[in-house]
């Protein structure tokens, strides 16, 4: 508001202009917009968590979490995602120093950890389905596969995005556009790790102790 008053008062005698002539905040709103996307994504996960909270004990005389979940495997999976978080952090630090090769190196490491995570999760899913504990077995398993599968799909798209950005950085370097994209992927990747904290605490650990 002070802008408008100042502007109107500066040109007294002329017709007052009640609008901003310069474009307000031309860049820099991408981060806020992407953050709002993440918050809406968070609501998707909240609904899936609520569904699992409601249905998570309805085994339909089928297997329970204690029968199915292999906690050492989940622990390894969790560490993969945690390692990928810090390696992406190192990529961001290298980006700020404009070290293109180091950035690409840490992004590749992050993608490898992400691939390891998705592979272990697919192995777990295949193992469960092979044992007859597929999503159609009980309400507990339906909600489990929906929640954990949605998270896995997010990680998979994050990996695809990582490779696309690696190609972009390799071709065009650390230009402002690529830095902005890397920042968005950073938020996305760390956000997925935050969701995974909820998954391993609420679904796996509390599921196993019953």
């Amino acid at each position: 508001m002070s802008d408008i008053h100042g502007h109107a008062a500066q040109h007294e005698g002329q017709a007052p202009a009640f609008y901003l002539e310069e474009e307000h905040h031309p860049e820099g709103s991408t981060m806020l917009g992407f953050w709002l996307y993440l918050m809406s994504d968070c609501l998707i996960f909240a609904v899936l968590f609520a569904t699992h909270g409601v249905l998570g004990r309805n085994y339909a005389a089928g297997p329970s979490p204690a029968d199915l979940f292999d906690l050492p495997l989940v622990a390894v999976n969790t560490s993969m995602l945690l390692f990928s978080s810090i390696t992406y952090g190192f990529a961001m630090l290298a980006m700020e120093r404009y070290e293109k090769k180091v950035t690409l190196f840490w992004m590749a490491i992050t993608a490898l950890f992400g691939i390891a995570f998705v592979s272990l999760e697919l192995y777990e899913f295949a193992h469960m389905i092979h044992e007859g504990a597929g999503p159609q077995r009980s309400a507990f398993l339906s909600s489990f596969f929906t929640l954990v599968g949605t998270h896995g799909l997010h990680v998979t798209s994050g990996i695809v995005w990582m490779f696309v950005l690696m190609a972009q950085v390799a071709k065009h370097g650390l230009i402002p556009e690529n830095k902005r994209r890397l920042m968005c992927l950073s938020m996305f990747w760390h956000f997925l790790d935050v969701v995974w904290i909820g998954v391993f605490s609420f679904v796996y650990l509390i599921g196993v102790i019953g």
Binding site: H25, G53, S85, M92, K179, M183, L205, I206
Partner: protein, 133 residues
Amino acid sequence: MTSHAPSHEDAFEAHHGHSHGHEAGHGTFKSYVTGFLLSVILTAIPFWLVMADVLDSAVPTAAIIMVLGAIQIVVHMIFFLHMNTRSEGGWTMMALIFTILLVAIALSGSLWVMHHLNANMMPMSPEMMKNMP
């Protein structure tokens, strides 16, 4: 009014400079490593509690897991997502608080309603059970 113009210019520059600062991120090597070490500890404790069967009863174990999970989420928000009350003029924090409110309503509301729905369901007699499809 002429004295006002430069101060406005300064404020604009300062604000602008900050927004660039946000784009570049606030992370340092130290903050990433601190966040990582805290996360490792906060992940290891709940897994140890469950896998080594440390506590006999389930309820305190579940409570500790939930509390440690909540702390770890805050750690990730601060050290990895660089959340603070200043970025984007406080709007990221505002959006986060609004989302937390919606998540709390969705989670507690669903559990509450469905718990009462289960409790108030008509009890089933053995005859009804027999005639089920």
